[in-house]
Symmetry: C2
């Protein structure tokens, strides 16, 4: 059977990294950046490991991908991330000129897209892929921590 | 003459780092983070040097300061920065729980404080110190690049 390199394929890869975050007792968010079916960056949330509030999966992926292509702009790239990017990450993504963002679970309280609906940008946005699995992982994490996520 | 470790003193230090950025052909923004008169971090914008849109002076200072105190929170710390933090940096600062932000030049177009006036946060904010010098440095940079800043 041939592998289909579609949005679901790359979201599954992001989910794999979210699971690695979960195993490290980090808020389980995973991200990958892809350009022309080449994976430029794979990352997961490392806030606790690095004791650094800026170490979100998306930020690490932006730094990693721009380093790989030796350009600060991510034109024609797509970010796949298991949770809607927060305002910090969304702003970084706008500055990176990334072409497309695909996220799994929406975050109506802190999400940069949900909370800043009037923000002007040119990024294509898609959501909902693998939502049940990604949300289940996040909810399991917060249940373990006895914190309410939504 | 005894040195007064006041806001002007630390902003002059941030300005010194902004000048280092200027010399490196980076947008000249410098930042320092201080806690109880101890400088935890000194940094300047490194976007071009690192080909990384996330490498703003404030982000580098947050990572550096949290690393130094081995805590992800910057409670009782003050950030001194020569230009108003952008939305990305301001969000990172809110997440870091920093107590105070002192900036020199306002950025009505891109500044996280100016453009998100309704945003709820508990950070003390002060501006205007060393404004003329910081703004002059920024304007000189953009004039050299033939880009209009404001």
């Amino acid at each position: 059977m041939r592998i289909k390199f579609n949005d679901e394929y790359y979201m599954k890869l992001a989910y794999k990294y979210a699971k690695l975050a979960y195993e490290k007792d980090e808020v389980p968010v995973g991200a990958v950046i892809v350009k022309n079916n080449i994976v430029l960056a794979k990352s997961y949330n490392l806030v606790e490991t690095l004791t650094d509030v800026t170490a979100h999966a998306e930020m690490i992926s932006i730094t990693s991908a721009t380093n790989k292509i030796n350009s600060k702009y991510l034109v024609d790239c797509t970010l796949y991330v298991t949770l809607e990017p927060c305002v910090m990450c969304f702003e970084a993504l706008i500055m990176s000129r990334i072409s497309k963002i695909v996220y799994s679970v929406s975050d109506p309280k802190k999400g940069g897209i949900s909370t800043q609906l009037k923000k002007k940008h040119k990024i294509l946005i898609s959501s909902g892929i693998l939502q049940k699995k990604s949300l289940d992982l996040i909810q399991r994490f917060f249940k373990k921590k006895r914190i309410k996520f939504f």
